[in-house]
Each structure stands twice: as structure tokens, then as C-alpha cells.
């Protein structure tokens, strides 16, 4: 990732930690087009779909140094609250206003064919706010 990009996540004490050096890629999945999901009857159902369908996947390299990815995500099985997520690039940031929270549902480690130890953390939006770049 370029130097100007950043990734921050809450650890289990609620402090934002910078883990960008551990993350080779991340994906943010959203509803494709607003028109595509417009229901023919009620708006409320559509809104539910829109919010529920934002999710994110982070893929990273195992790092157990202090305040890095393992410190942040090793609490996935025990920490039940949403985590604050912040992504920054070129002076713009996603997740600060409004402060979005996401629930991490797994911290899956795997050893790749090349011998590297990598992890995957899927997250789903949990506090009902639509993230915005500001």
C-alpha cells in the first residue's frame, strides 16, 4: 500500500491501532446500484437490505508485534462489540464521520504454499451508519 494510505482498527480496549503494514489487501462490498435493489412495495425492507449488505474483508500477514494485527484481532472470539474502522487515503478518510462500527466474525489464519502465515478477517457493518469519505 502506498505510504499515504492507512488502515486503523479498534483493539479490544477501544483504541484505534494502525495495522496497514500487515494488510496486503482489503475489499469493501456494497450494494451495486441503488436502483437494482429497490423493492416494489416497501422502503423499509430495502433500507434494511442496504445496511445489512455492507461488509468488508481484510487479508493480512501474521504479525504479533505490539499493537499490530494479531494484537487487534486475537480478541475476535471474545470481544462482542463493534469495532471502529478507519481507512485513510490522500487526506481523505472513511469511517470517521460518521464513526462506523463493524463486527469481525472470524480471524482465520492459514499457512500459504509459499510458507507465509496469512489471515483473513471478514467484517459486517454493525451500527447502522452508512460510511462516508470525508
Amino acid at each position: 500500500m502506498a505510504k499515504e494510505s492507512g488502515l486503523g482498527f479498534d483493539d479490544d480496549s477501544g483504541s484505534l491501532q494502525d495495522i496497514r503494514n500487515d494488510v496486503p489487501n482489503f475489499q469493501f462490498a456494497l450494494p451495486r446500484g441503488v436502483q437494482d435493489v429497490t423493492g416494489i412495495d416497501v422502503f423499509a425492507f430495502e433500507r434494511l437490505l442496504l445496511l445489512a449488505d455492507m461488509n468488508m474483508t481484510l487479508n493480512g500477514v501474521f504479525n504479533d508485534a505490539a499493537n499490530k494485527s494479531h494484537d487487534v484481532f486475537s480478541s475476535v472470539p471474545t470481544y462482542n462489540s463493534g469495532r471502529q474502522v478507519n481507512i485513510a487515503h490522500s487526506g481523505q478518510s472513511l469511517g470517521i464521520t460518521p464513526a462506523i462500527e463493524m463486527i469481525a466474525t472470524d480471524y482465520a489464519l492459514t499457512r500459504g504454499a509459499g510458507g507465509e502465515l496469512t489471515w483473513t478477517v471478514p467484517m459486517a457493518l454493525s451500527n447502522g451508519l452508512v460510511p462516508t469519505w470525508t
Binding site: 500500500m1 456494497l30 451495486r32 446500484g33 500477514v61 472470524d106 483473513t120
Partner: protein, 154 residues
Amino acid sequence: MRDFARFVQRVEPKLPPGAMQTYDVSAPLETHWRSATCAEVECKAFMQGWSSDVLAGSADEARLAKAYEAEFRRGAIKGEKLETGFIRYHFPAGTACFRQAWHKLPLERPALFIVRSGDWRGTDGVIRRFATGAEWVDHFATHLDGISERVSRG
């Protein structure tokens, strides 16, 4: 990696993959990362030292002796016999850990900024590839604006 991804615990989206769009920032391990030393990544074992129990006379012990030959010769690694027949080796801080070959650091090359259709369940392919992160952010922001406008309208 792809097969493994299926076993990851996720919240199943309510929309089908065809109605989803994914914003992807990618710095593949093969092209954007280099091998690093324990000191560079400040790995816990290297910084604080650690101890490992191995069965006396086992293949594991032989492997340790071979991998850390120089340290053993210097007397840096101390072995402690346990009642269970194991030997507890104490590795001091500053010793390269067992994972030394796996440590990676980014090369600081610009990442690949992509928008593709679908999500983790499946994709029809790349919709657009951006030359700079700023363009990707702009596209992402416009898309989010559309969604948030729709949500606020109710």
C-alpha cells in the same frame, strides 16, 4: 487461499452477489512485499525471547540443534531438563524466531485500486481499474453518497 476462504465465518449478505459491487485495494504478496527480518517486524519472540519444550533425543531436538547451531555453540540457548522427559530450551531476546522465513514487509509500491462486480461469493470481473488511489476514493465516495441519500430518504 481461495478454497480456504470458503471456510471463513461470515455474515451472509441478503443481496445476491450480482447486486453487489466491491471496492478492492490490493498489494499482492508476490509483487508488493519483501521478506523481512525479525528485527524489522519487531516480532514478539525476537523482542522478548521465548522457551520451547522438546522431547529429549527426538527429531525435533535435532532440528533445533541444527537450525540454531551457532547459538548453541555460543551457549546462548540454555536447556533445562524437565521431569516429563522434555527439555525446555530458553531462547534469549535477539534470537531469530521459528517464523523468520515468513516475516514480510511492504515494498511501498502503489497498490492496485480496483472496482469489481460481486463480492466474496463470486464475481463477474473487474468493472474498473484506477491509476491512482484518489480516483478510486472519488468513485467509492460517489457510490456511498448514492446509498446514503437513498437511506436518508427512507
